[in-house]
Amino acid sequence: MTIEPGPTQHEGPAEQPNPSQQPAPRKRKLALILISSVVVLLVIAAAAVVTVTQISGQQRKESLQLLKEGQLTALVDSRAKLQPAANEYLAAYKKARNAPASQEEAEKNSQKERGEFQKAADEARSALQKVQSAHESRADGIGVAIGQLEDSYEGFIDHMEGLVESYPQFEGLFRADGAGCNGLFVGSKAATLRERQTLLGQAAAPCREAADQLKQSKNVAYVEFARTFDNRVGQLESNAEVTAKSEENYNEFVQLKDQLVQKTNEATARNASDEELLKIADEAKALNTRIKNNRSEFDFAAKRYLSGVKDMPVLVEEVFSKKIAAEIKSYDAVIPLRVQILKDAVDVELVE
C-alpha cells in the first residue's frame, strides 16, 4: 500500500518538463508498478492462506488427538468411579439405618459417602461436557458419535444418581418408621378376615403413597418396581376384601342353612304338600349353589392373597438382583461400544 503514493510524488515533477514526449513509458511504468504490487499482494495473501490452513489443520489435528486420548479417557475413568461410589453410599446408608437410626439420621451419618458419590457424578457430567465441547458440529461422523455417546452416558449417570437419591425411600418401604409396608403382612394378628382386611387397608394407604413417590425416581428399576408393587398391593387389598366378604357370606349361609333345616323339619312334621317340599328343596339347591360359588371365590382369592404375600419379598429382592443388574449390564455393553465408535470416528478424520 505504501508503494503506490511514492512514485506519483517523485515522478510528478520529473516528468512535467516534457509531458508530450513521454506519455507511453510513463503509463507503462505505472502499469508495471501496479501489476507488480498486485502480484506481491497476491503472493502475500496466498502465503497467508497456506499458513492459516496449515496452522488450523494442525490445531484441529491436535484437538482431535486430545479428544481421543485425553477427554475420552477421562470420561471412561470417571464412569468407572460411579458404581463403586454408589455402592459405598448404599452400604454406608444401610449400615447407619440398621444401627438403628431414623432415615434422617442415617442420611446424616452417610453424608460423607453421599458427597463423594455426588462428586463422582458431577465429575462424570463435566467429563461428558468436555467431550461435547471438544467438537462443535453434530452433523459429521464425530458429532453423530458424540451425540449417541451423550445419550447413553447421560442415561447411565441418571440411572446411578436415581439409584442413590431414591435409595432411602426404597429402603424405608418395609420399615415400621418408614412407609410401613411391613404392615401388609398381617399374618396371625387378625382374628377374622374382615379384621385382616382392615389392618391391611390401614397399612396399604401410606405404603402405596410411598410407592407412588418412588415412581418419580430417576432410576427406571425403582420406577418399574414401584408400579408393579403398587399393583400387587392393590390386588392384595381386593383379594383381602373378597375373602373377608366370603367369610361374612359364609356365616350368613350357615344361618340360612339352619333356617332351611328347621323349615324342612317343620314341613315334614306337619305333612306339608309335595309342592311345598319341592319349593324348599329348590331353595336348598339355590343355597348350595351360592355356597359353592362363594367357596370358589374364596378359594381363588385366598390362594392369590397368599401367593401375593409370598411373592412380595421376591419382588423387592429382584430390584437389585435382577432389574438394576440388568440395567447396568446394558449400559456396560453400550457405553464402551459408543466410546470405541467415537474413537474410530476421530481416527477417520486423523488419517493422513
Binding site: S36, V39, E224, A333
Partner: protein
C-alpha cells in the same frame, strides 16, 4: 524491491535498466507465486490415496461395531415396554417408553444408514473390485438394519396385544367362578381386538404368530360363548365341561405357537447375520489388498 523501483524512477538516465529490473522482478514474483500455487495444489493430490482406503476401512469397522448395539438396546426397550404394558401404566407412560426407548432404536438405524451412504461416497468405492465388495456389504448390512427396524414393529405390536390385554386372560380369571364364561368372553374380545390391530405392519412370521394366537383365543372364546348361550342348566353344565377341557390344551397350543415363532425368527436372523459377516470379511480383505498395493508402490518408489 519496491524501493529499488522508486530509485530508478528518480534517475531518468537509467530508464532502460530500470525497466529490466521491473520486468525481472515481476517475472521472479510470478514464478514464485506459480511455484507456491503448484506446491499448494500438489499438497492436496488428486486421485485415490492410501488415506481414502484407510478411512473407508475405519468407517467399515464403525458400522460393524454399531451392529452390536442393537442387542443391548433391544433388551432394554423390550424389558421396559413389557413392564409398562403388563402393569398397565398410564397411556402417557407407555407412549414415553415407546418414543424414547423405541425411538432410540429407530435413530440408531437412521444413523447406520447414513453411515452406509457416506461410505458409498468414498472415492475408494469408485474402483471396481472395492465397489463390488462394498455393494455386497451395503446390501447385507442394510438387511440387518431393516430386520431390526421390523423387529421393533413386531416387538411393539406383540407387547401391545399378547403382552397387553391378552395377558390377564389366562392368569387372573377364576375358572371356578360363576361369571367365568362371561369374564372370559369379555377379556377375549379385548384381546382379539388388540391382536387384529397388532397385525398391522408386522412381518410374515409375526403375522402368523398373531393369527395363531387369534385362532386359539377365538376358539376358547366361542366355547365360553356357547356356555352363555346354553338354554338350560344341563346344557350349560355340558358346555362348561367341554370348554374347561378345551382350556386345558391352551397352554400347550400357545407355547407351541411361540416356540415355532421363535425358532423361525432365529433362523432368519442367524442367516442375515452370517451373510453380513461374510460380506464384511470380503470387504475388509478387498480394502486390505488395496492398502497393500499402496504400500508396495511406496516401497518401489524409494
Amino acid at each position: 524491491m519496491g524501493e529499488e523501483t522508486l530509485d530508478s524512477a528518480a534517475q531518468p538516465g537509467r530508464r532502460k535498466s530500470r525497466r529490466t529490473v521491473i520486468v525481472v522482478a515481476v517475472v521472479v514474483i510470478a514464478v514464485l507465486a506459480g511455484g507456491l500455487g503448484t506446491w499448494f495444489a500438489l499438497s492436496r493430490p488428486a486421485g485415490l490415496q492410501r488415506a481414502d482406503v484407510v478411512r473407508l476401512d475405519k468407517e467399515r469397522v464403525i458400522l460393524d461395531n454399531s451392529m452390536n448395539l442393537y442387542d443391548p438396546l433391544f433388551n432394554q426397550f423390550s424389558v421396559r415396554y413389557s413392564s409398562v404394558m403388563s402393569e398397565n401404566a398410564e397411556q402417557q407412560v407407555k407412549d414415553q417408553v415407546l418414543n424414547q426407548d423405541g425411538g432410540r432404536l429407530k435413530s440408531e438405524s437412521r444413523i447406520n444408514l447414513d453411515r452406509l451412504d457416506r461410505m458409498g461416497s468414498s472415492p475408494t468405492v469408485k474402483e471396481q473390485e472395492v465397489s463390488d465388495a462394498f455393494n455386497r456389504f451395503k446390501e447385507h448390512y442394510g438387511a440387518v438394519i431393516s430386520y431390526n427396524d421390523q423387529l421393533l414393529v413386531n416387538t411393539s405390536n406383540i407387547t401391545q396385544s399378547i403382552g397387553g390385554p391378552c395377558a390377564p386372560l389366562h392368569s387372573t380369571l377364576n375358572v371356578g367362578a360363576e361369571t367365568y364364561s362371561e369374564d372370559y368372553v369379555k377379556g377375549a374380545d379385548a384381546c382379539l381386538a388388540a391382536v387384529v390391530t397388532a397385525k398391522d405392519n408386522t412381518d410374515a412370521e409375526t403375522t402368523e404368530l398373531l393369527t395363531s394366537v387369534e385362532g386359539i383365543i377365538r376358539g376358547q372364546r366361542d366355547k365360553q360363548q356357547e356356555v352363555l348361550d346354553a338354554k338350560d342348566d344341563f346344557e350349560r353344565l355340558a358346555k362348561r365341561t367341554l370348554a374347561a377341557l378345551a382350556m386345558l390344551d391352551i397352554n400347550e397350543a400357545l407355547s407351541t405357537t411361540e416356540t415355532k415363532y421363535e425358532s423361525a425368527v432365529k433362523v432368519k436372523y442367524n442367516q442375515l447375520v452370517a451373510d453380513a459377516n461374510d460380506s464384511n470379511k470380503t470387504f475388509e480383505s478387498a480394502l486390505k489388498k488395496r492398502t497393500d498395493q499402496f504400500d508396495a508402490a511406496g516401497k518401489d518408489g524409494e
